[in-house]
């Protein structure tokens, strides 16, 4: 296990040597100082981060449960990645803008997106249930890597507006292989765009380990494009917070892009459709269980006596209530009117869409009439 050091060197695993990463909180819950990433965390802040971690884990568990019960078609679990998401999410200012993949439920939470809204696409009632500009949180993007270019373009807009805003592009270790992600690096570097590339290396892209994508740590990719990259302990919420905050400042100050690789682990299946027992060993899971992001914060808080039993009870209660609310809202989610699929294809009138809509309405109306006739008979 890791031991307390005052320096910056932390190995991710005791057996296989890993490159340096920034860690501020060990798996055992010990605080470490890092010269480049000083962080003051008040007791209140620690509790608040803890609360977020617990709540998003609960949101996630509810998503999985709802899928199991047939209420969602699919769920992509963030289990194990809570610290990476809450740490980075909480580092953002309200005016910063985030571009998520399909797994950033924790970031959504930090942005203030109602978790209920995340369910829409997994339930199949919509493909994105919120207004990206309302909370500065883009819609989930499923085509791997696409959103990184959108983030860079958005950041180019921020530059043109002379705005003091930052942008985060989330992506996975697998995504790092996509042309789009590398083009995003090229464009961001070329225009010195204020964008933080936040890669959650959760060790797997479905069944493929990160080594299939890269033989060197992913954070080093940035060097090749001429901007800094660093690795952070992705299961350490303090480190993720400090590093992302610094990176956002760095980009907002006109220094151009930066890459953060959050070294973390996908504790669950890729999605509820996946069966990870086909491709990975249980002991890996055990190893990472010991690095659990919530556990270590709890240990830290316990050491320091930063919260009392009542606090934990309140958080548990709150998370139960949140889960219940999500569940109820999910079950109450109405199926969309089929004719609504014609609604947002074009912004203005469109004769073909209008004609097809009318024909379908007519056709469906025929059934309604038939049913009506049936009932009347």
């Amino acid at each position: 296990m890791t031991t307390r050091t005052s320096g910056r060197t932390r190995r991710a695993s005791p057996s296989e040597p890993e490159p340096e990463f920034v860690q501020l909180l060990t798996p055992e819950g010990e605080r470490i100082d890092h010269p480049d990433y000083p962080l003051e965390v008040s007791a209140e802040q620690a509790r608040s981060l803890y609360r977020d971690l617990v709540l998003v884990r609960r949101i996630d568990a509810e998503g999985t449960a709802l899928q199991r019960q047939g209420e969602l078609g699919l769920w992509a679990s963030l289990l194990g990645q809570e610290a990476a998401q809450i740490g980075s999410g909480r580092a953002m200012r309200e005016t910063d803008f985030a571009f998520p993949t399909y797994r950033e439920h924790g970031v959504a939470w930090c942005r203030g997106v109602d978790p209920v809204n995340l369910l829409g696409m997994f339930r199949g009632v919509n493909n994105g249930g919120w207004d990206p500009r309302e909370k500065n949180f883009n819609l989930y993007t499923i085509v791997i890597g696409s959103q990184t270019l959108h983030a860079v373009g958005y950041a180019m807009g921020v530059q043109r507006d002379g705005a003091d805003e930052g942008v985060i592009a989330y992506f996975g270790d697998g995504a790092s292989s996509q042309g789009d992600v590398n083009e995003a690096f090229v464009f961001a570097a070329s225009y010195n765009a204020p964008v933080v590339f936040f890669c959650q290396n959760n060790q797997w892209a479905i069944s493929e380990p990160t080594e299939r994508q890269s033989r060197v740590p992913l954070y080093r990719r940035a060097q090749g494009f001429g901007f800094p990259g660093l690795r952070v302990d992705g299961n350490d919420v303090f480190a993720c917070l400090a590093v992302t905050r610094a990176a956002l400042d760095y980009t907002r100050n006109g220094n151009g892009p930066m890459l953060i690789e959050a070294f973390t682990y996908r504790m669950g299946a890729h999605t509820t459709s996946d069966d990870p027992t086909r491709y990975r060993a249980n002991d890996e899971l055990e190893l990472w269980r010991a690095r659990d992001p919530i556990l270590r914060l709890r240990r830290y808080m316990d050491h320091g006596g930063l919260a009392d039993e009542e606090f934990y009870a309140t958080v548990d209660k709150e998370s139960d209530e949140l889960a219940a609310r999500i569940r109820a809202a999910c079950l109450a989610m109405p199926d969309p009117d089929p004719l609504s699929m014609f609604e947002y294809v074009y912004t203005g009138p469109h004769h073909q869409v209008a004609a097809e809509r009318a024909a379908l309405a007519d056709y469906l109306g025929g059934f309604a009439d038939a049913e009506h006739a049936e009932v009347a008979r």
């Binding site: 696409m121 085509v143 697998g174």
Partner: protein, 336 residues
């Protein structure tokens, strides 16, 4: 010796997914130059398990888990083909073929012509396609028309396990690049498979009349063949005799078989999941109308997707052609 060649397996019912797996296995046994490439096709066996067990049996050099980059998959497959290999690439879902669209359209399709016949591209690109499985965005697309417009590619799609087993082997044996669309919602449907060496599969570039009829022709392919067969059966009860053509090949399109049918029935309805606008139905309607101008008693009907993005899954039942939509189009053809 593969399971498929085992005599006892001759007519065991297998799913389409399994039939494809058996066909791939046999092709790999028959030709050591056949290699499989794609995301998650190794240990996992692909998200639909079509390549299940193949990496275990043929090794990592022949069943290649690739980095997550579709252009990279197809682009490196081009190089492997140039080197004498016969790559069979899997695109995980229909909606993720587009990053590879450039390599397919400008390289794979054109290298034989560009080299004046010196370089062949014996490559297969397998794409699970179509909707009906309650999936999220990009997992239910039917992009076949987007490839058919480009010369140099062959595009085929089996509708059942037996065709799946043979067509995948024929596609691999073809020296032309073949885009092989697999109707994902039919992966789990079963049929008895005679995989013996003396079975004689139909040529890859021919459609098949899968149900004879006299009053109207339904032309469909892939996932919609079953739907049309069901519709034909229902129509039968109303006293209408409907012929069903399983197109099997989209490029080339076997218009001969369809026109021959229409010359007998006088009516044609084309059915596919893909959007109607600029879809296969348009091409088939144009060609059949040209050939059967004086024989057609009604304009060619087209049933397919609307001019909208593929909708969220809770709406897909309405979006996708089903028995009722097909019969509705049949009715309209008779009203003319």
């Amino acid at each position: 010796m593969s399971a498929a060649r085992d005599d006892s397996a001759r007519t065991a019912p297998v799913t389409l997914a399994k039939a494809l797996n058996l066909g791939l296995r046999r092709a790999m046994e028959d030709d050591s130059k056949v290699v499989l490439m794609g995301e998650d096709i190794g240990r996992l066996g692909g998200v639909f398990r079509v390549t299940d067990g193949l990496q275990k049996d043929f090794g990592e050099a022949r069943v290649i888990d690739t980095p997550l980059a579709e252009s990279g998959v197809i682009g490196t497959a081009v190089g492997l083909a140039l080197r004498g290999y016969r790559p069979v690439c899997e695109i995980q879902f229909d909606g993720f073929v587009f990053p590879a669209f450039d390599q397919i359209t400008t390289q794979v399709a054109k290298l034989y012509a560009r080299s004046l016949g010196k370089v062949r591209m014996p490559m297969v690109i397998r794409i699970p396609y179509g909707g009906g499985i309650g999936a999220v965005e990009h997992h239910s697309e039917s992009p076949e028309a987007l490839f058919a417009h480009t010369a140099g590619l062959r595009i085929v799609t089996p509708s059942n396990p037996v065709d799946g087993y043979w067509m995948i082997q024929q596609a691999i044996a073809s020296d032309d690049p073949v885009i092989f669309f697999e109707p994902k919602r039919r992966y789990w449907e079963k049929a008895p498979l005679d995989a013996s060496d003396d079975a004689e599969p139909r040529p890859l570039d021919r459609a098949a009349v899968v149900r004879p009829g006299t009053d109207l022709t339904l032309a469909a392919y892939g996932p919609m063949v079953r739907t049309c067969l069901d519709a034909a059966k229902a129509a039968d009860e109303e006293g209408r005799s409907i012929e069903v053509v399983d197109l099997r090949t989209i490029s080339p399109l076997d218009v001969d078989t369809v026109a021959e049918s229409v010359n007998r029935t006088g009516r044609l309805v084309v059915v596919h999941e893909a959007p109607v606008f600029f879809g296969l139905g348009a091409e088939l309607a144009a060609q059949v109308t040209d050939r059967c101008f004086y024989r057609l008693e009604a304009p060619v009907g087209r049933v397919g997707g609307f001019h909208t993005p593929y909708p969220p899954s809770r709406m897909e039942e309405v979006y996708l052609p089903d028995l009722d939509r097909v019969l509705d189009a049949v009715d309209r053809a008779f009203e003319h």
